[in-house]
Symmetry: C2
Subunit: 408 residues, 2 copies
């Protein structure tokens, strides 16, 4: 059986007593409270933030998009490490406030905000990134009912996208934001209504690994923002440049060169047009900050052969790892990085399929992976599990429920 390549294991994981170790604890120790579980490495998140701060110009704020991972200890950590938290629902607003984030450093984007969500956000004093003229009118009406002065920004649907991004969020017709050409009129309406004008949010795409593509999108974003500020006729107080920084999931993926991105952004920051000179500039990242720092640990419950293939059946699965199973936003199923955590220093000696415990052929964690021989009781680690794992998987499928999570 020919092996299919596994994705690259992110750098920074240690080996202890032959096992994968996170935060100084072996996989066995981490799993001792029960499997499946997610372990997130505090030091890897801190190191990622430090590396990013080191290359980004000082005037660029770094925001955390909490949808990537809203486990409360992660939120508490990120509200300390980052300059702002970006939320996408009323529930995430409550989470961000509970984690101790200041309302003034929270912004709320996302189509389909209900009146109840708009009211909660305006009452709390967070910035709303308006997604349409209709939402703007609803927000103004809410603010009037509440007797509050809302902090309003406009999310722009740019007239370009982020080349090579895993998910395009801008360009063409989109459910997100206001088409760039209609933004100036809406901004003037908001300013005239006496709201606190918080500028623009321009998000062109996500999960890009090509620095040149990110640089081009950021450049186009700054150009568009400057043009819109001119047309609005007021300097921009703030500009969220979006994110789009990807992480390597699959064999052949090359990590994004953030040094080049930071250098290009510094160059742009040194020569900002007047309309942007006073703007708070932010990038908004989720996956890039926490994705590689998380591991999903699941125990092998059965080892079986079927017509020449080996199946390692685990007690976890797509109910916690929908994206790793290949069923979320991907067309072609490829293997995430994965290892036998309890034999982390062992050589690969066989080719095996790693599957979850759900009674569906969709529940595959790795296809034809070259692995050391593993037995019932061994632990499997799925890497890149820090973002869009626990938060974006159907945990209730077959009644299993959420996996335990730990920040270590």
């Amino acid at each position: 059986m020919n092996a299919k390549p596994l994705g690259p294991i992110p750098p920074g994981f240690a080996t202890l007593d032959g096992e994968l170790a996170i935060g100084g604890l072996t996989a066995s120790a981490l799993a001792s409270g029960g499997t499946p579980c997610f372990a997130y490495s505090r030091s890897m998140i801190e190191a990622r933030m430090a590396a990013l701060r080191a290359v980004m110009p000082e005037r660029i704020s770094i925001h955390y998009a909490i949808k990537a991972n809203s486990f409360s200890p992660i939120l508490e950590l990120m509200s300390q490490l980052c300059d702002g938290l970006d939320i996408a629902s009323g529930a995430e607003l409550a989470m961000a406030l509970a984690a101790g984030a200041q309302a003034a450093r929270i912004s709320f984007a996302g189509p389909g905000k209900t009146d109840a969500e708009l009211e909660a956000a305006i009452s709390a004093g967070v910035t709303l990134n308006l997604e349409s003229e209709g939402e703007a009118e609803r927000a103004l009406a809410c603010a009037e009912r509440l007797g509050a002065r809302p902090r309003l920004a406009i999310r722009v649907n740019p007239d370009f996208d982020l080349r090579g991004s895993g998910m395009k969020m801008g360009g063409g017709a989109r459910p997100f934001g206001v088409d760039a050409e209609r933004v100036p009129a809406l901004a003037r309406r908001i300013i005239a209504a006496g709201c606190e004008w918080r500028g623009l949010h321009i998000f062109a795409g996500s999960q890009a690994l090509d620095a040149e593509a990110v640089i081009a999108a950021q450049g186009a974003t700054l150009d568009l923002a400057a043009r819109l500020a001119e047309e609005i006729g007021a300097p921009l107080p703030a500009l969220n440049l979006g994110g789009g920084f990807g992480i390597p999931y699959f064999a052949g993926d090359i990590p994004l060169d953030i040094g080049r991105v930071g250098e290009a952004l510094a160059g742009r920051c040194a020569a900002l047009p007047p309309a942007l000179a006073g703007a708070e500039l932010a990038i908004e990242l989720g996956r890039y900050l926490v994705g590689e720092a998380g591991v999903y640990l699941t125990r092998i419950v059965d080892r079986k052969e079927s017509r020449g293939e080996t199946f390692l059946v685990t007690d976890g699965g797509l109910h916690h790892q929908l994206a790793a199973s290949g069923n979320f936003g991907t067309v072609v199923r490829r293997n995430y990085p994965l290892a036998i955590a309890t034999r982390f220093d062992a050589e690969a000696t066989e080719v095996a399929n790693v599957v979850g415990c759900l009674c569906t052929p969709l529940d595959r964690l790795a296809e034809r992976a070259a692995l050391p021989r593993a037995e019932v009781g061994d632990l499997v680690a799925v890497f890149c599990a820090g973002a869009y794992g626990a938060s974006a998987s159907p945990a209730d499928f077959l009644g299993h429920g959420r996996a335990r999570e730990m920040l270590v």
Copy 2:
């Protein structure tokens, strides 16, 4: 903008005061307790069961696979209407027992059963469909620890699949069941160990709409079961023939002709080989029994235009309707059946995209659908939401949580 076809609305839904009505209640009335919500029609489930009983030979038992929808009022109803409940986890065991199902009418299939799940199942007295020789040994060890006589069946990985099925569960190398050629040895081992021998479970695929394919798979299943029973050297006490009955989701899908399936099965039942003559014969259905009886109702929160396209943004989305969004087990995204529930009798007058409230381009409920013009406050109905909707979607994404469910 050219319209993309919507899937066919299942027959049996009524119009009341111009609105979609379920169980005599309008969509507005159903949604008055809050949106998004799922409404399941008791009478449609009962009618489906009655239609099935009418065409199936009397000696065929009908089991409900609760993974399709485990909402507790549905489980109570199905435990009354069906002859057995099929479960796939320890959590589902607890749900089935709580719904009042007798343990003797419950069977538990699924790879990756943990020791704790095996113990709970053996203690309760439910039938275990063993997925491997390794699981068989663990079950025997559990039974010995408990001092109990386990009820054991073997799930067979057949040497054929269900032609035209949406998901193949058999044929070739599979994580499910024991390869047919190794089943006799394992069955003899179980019988010799003094267990209660409960026969075979042979599941070749799911979501098939072609009666000839289902008939062929059932025929092959009966042939294989008879051959295996001969080789085992004992008559078969029970045979679960699996299911695989599909429902139409997409434009052009033709409903399965269950009359032909029932007729063919009656023919086979009239001439069973001696090894099967005394067997309880069952089919196991999930989606087919409840899928078309459920509707997901979500309210339009925003109506917006972007570069010539109209977007209806709802307060629901893929966190409750992962499959309808095209992100679960499908390669090409096609539209589910969908309607403006509050304008159910109105003609289509525009082409619009219906999207959810999540901040991801994956969150689409309908692409370029021909619909009557809808406004903020109108309700959207997504049909075929009775199976693998609430139970198989990432409800916690963005912190939204589960939708309200009702059996009406």
